[in-house]
Amino acid sequence: MFEVLSGGPQTTVQDLGRPGYLHTGMPPSGAFDSFSLRVANLLVGNNPGGRYLVGRDPGDAGLEVLLMGCRLRAATEHVIAVTGGDLDPTLNGQPLPMWQAIRVREGDEIAFRSPRSGVRAYLAIAGGIDVPPFLGSRATNVRAAVGGVEGRGLKTGDELRIGEPRKAASELEGRAWPAASRPAIVAPWTVRVVLGPQDHLFQPESVETFLTTDWKLSPISDRMGCRYIGPKLEFLPRPDYLVEQAGSDPSNIVDDGTPLGGIQVPSGLEPIVMGADVPSFGGYAKIATVISSDIGVVGQGKPGDIVRFRAVAAAEAEEIGLAQEALVQEGVRVSG
């Protein structure tokens, strides 16, 4: 068991989410940087789950820790691993090595002190966090108030029950994820996108501007969407029936589906990349979609960080996504 001494700005229980309910308006949720959570789970012998969103196995639940301030105390002995963004994690005040399995003992204190690179760290505990699943997943969706601990972020006094570890501590301790297979979690970020579904509604020069601008991440960003500050993007003129049906703003479209990673540009101002708690519809034109492998990169940006969007073809995006999946599968093979 773990006791929560402080939840920080937002620490949530996350697995790989609850796909399969998009048609009801239920967001997928799950770890924003799903690759990092899967690696953390692998290191402690947990189930890393299937591919994010298109798989059906949410894997074991860990913690997604945002920024600084989260503090936890182990009430019993456990094996843990911390991956993702470097939030200067400590164990009893001493630096806690990331990307490897570590044994913690009763009374040990884990703290996340300040974001050095990235903003979201993932803490997996051998056995996984045992909270009641909702629609097959333990992922927290704070907006819909479902999943995790009472559908909310952790707060002081919460107690986290841990499941039965799959492997002995002695077998897990010291396992490390190779540095070459870790994502580069460092600004300035390059986020790869596939143009569309509505890039054709923008002025061609604005599509160019979108791909060549150094965008700055706005502080108004969360798990639902990350917003970027930069030049205004302009739209092509619309026929009258669309002005009437979709709305008077040139960015308005008749609502269609909004995918994870979709980039809406309301009024041409501040593109918003939709995150893990994405609403399933929207009435704003979407210039591009972030590719699956780079959703985690979006989730690691810190307000003020510079981001450049780079266009790739859908087929290339698939290759990149499959290569990332192959890394996880290699980890599964090695750790047995």
């Binding site: 796909p19 399969g20 309910y21 998009l22 048609h23 009801t24 308006g25 239920m26 591919r51 969103l53 298109v54 798989g55 059906r56 909702f134 629609l135 907006r143 819909a144 108030a145 479902v146 996108v193 596939v194 569309g196 579904p197 029936y241 669309l242 049906q245 709305g247 479209i253 008749v254 609502d255 269609d256 589906g257 995918p259 994870l260 990673g261 979709g262 609403p279 399933s280 519809f281 929207g282 979609t289 972030v290 590719i291 699956s292 859908a314 087929a315 995006a317 698939e318 990149i320 996504g321 499959l322 999946e325």
Partner: protein, 279 residues
């Protein structure tokens, strides 16, 4: 515009959009529902889920099973089938509804707006009873479910339905849960307390979203509405409202759901008749 052939648009490497047109029209939504039914009946391996919207079907797929290019080829073979769908299974859900309820009135006042039903009556040249008669006098076609869990959009199936509603100039910061609302000719629903800009019609005592899944109808999903079903809203008074609400909270309420089907041709024929009448 309703396209002759759908346009296939990539949404990154996890989704594809099949877009049947760019406007709001039942005939267009019928094609969306048609393709969705086809994929439910004869699944394409690798397709993991589908999301019908007003005018497009968003399809999630696993690229380790099928590549986007092959998926689009497979979808093209379904095009004609979706376009030719004339009748669709469509259940009719009857929903008790307190038009012009006190919570809607309070919410409008709190945001500096007039009573929305009075406002709708005035700008549409009728009375509150006239708005209620029109809104409860037609069946509504649920084109899409989403934005947030349990939220949906519905179009009137009576082509003569003439009430229209502008959106609020400045969106409200909150709307009570279970409020039904109107913008343009679209009826929508606030399953939970949320911001919004549609005109408030009233409140239903019935849950259409229940994360606690208390009633049998929520056994498989916490969301009741599904795209392609029909709704009828039945006016009730304060006493009915409170009685039904108690039943809902006990999990004892019996939802009025009738299986059925709907014909696009019937709708198009009625639409034509209304146009001829209007000359």
């Amino acid at each position: 515009m309703l396209y002759d052939h759908p346009i296939y648009r990539p949404l990154g490497d996890m989704f594809v959009d099949v877009e049947f047109g760019d406007e709001l029209h039942l005939a267009l939504n019928f094609r969306v529902i048609g393709l969705n039914l086809s994929l439910a009946e004869y699944p394409i391996p690798g397709v993991t889920e589908t999301v019908p919207s007003n005018r497009a079907l968003m399809i999630a797929y696993d690229s380790s099973v099928i590549r986007q290019k092959a998926l689009i080829d497979a979808l093209r073979e379904r095009e004609e089938e979706a376009t030719k769908l004339r009748r669709a299974p469509s259940r009719l859900v009857t929903i008790p509804f307190w038009y012009n309820d006190p919570w809607s009135d309070e919410c409008a006042k709190a945001h500096g707006a007039p009573n929305n039903m009075e406002y709708l009556a005035e700008i549409n040249g009728t009375t509150i009873d006239g708005v209620i008669a029109a809104h409860s006098g037609t069946e509504w076609w649920v084109t899409s479910v989403g934005f947030q869990p349990g939220c949906y959009q519905a179009l009137p199936l009576d082509p003569a339905f003439a009430i229209t509603a502008p959106k609020y100039p400045r969106p409200r910061q909150w709307t009570p849960e279970r409020i039904l609302c109107l913008a343009g000719k679209i009826t929508s629903f606030y399953p939970v307390r949320s911001p919004g800009g549609y005109q408030l019609l009233g409140r239903t005592p019935v849950d259409l979203y229940d994360p606690l899944q208390r009633n049998e109808v929520f056994r498989d999903s916490p969301v009741l509405p599904i795209a392609g079903e029909r709704h009828r809203y039945v006016p009730i008074d304060a006493a009915d409202y409170h009685e039904i609400r108690c039943q809902v909270e006990d999990g004892a309420y019996c939802y009025d759901i009738a299986e059925g089907e709907y014909s696009l041709d019937d709708y198009l024929a009625r639409l034509e008749a209304v146009h001829v009448e209007a000359g």
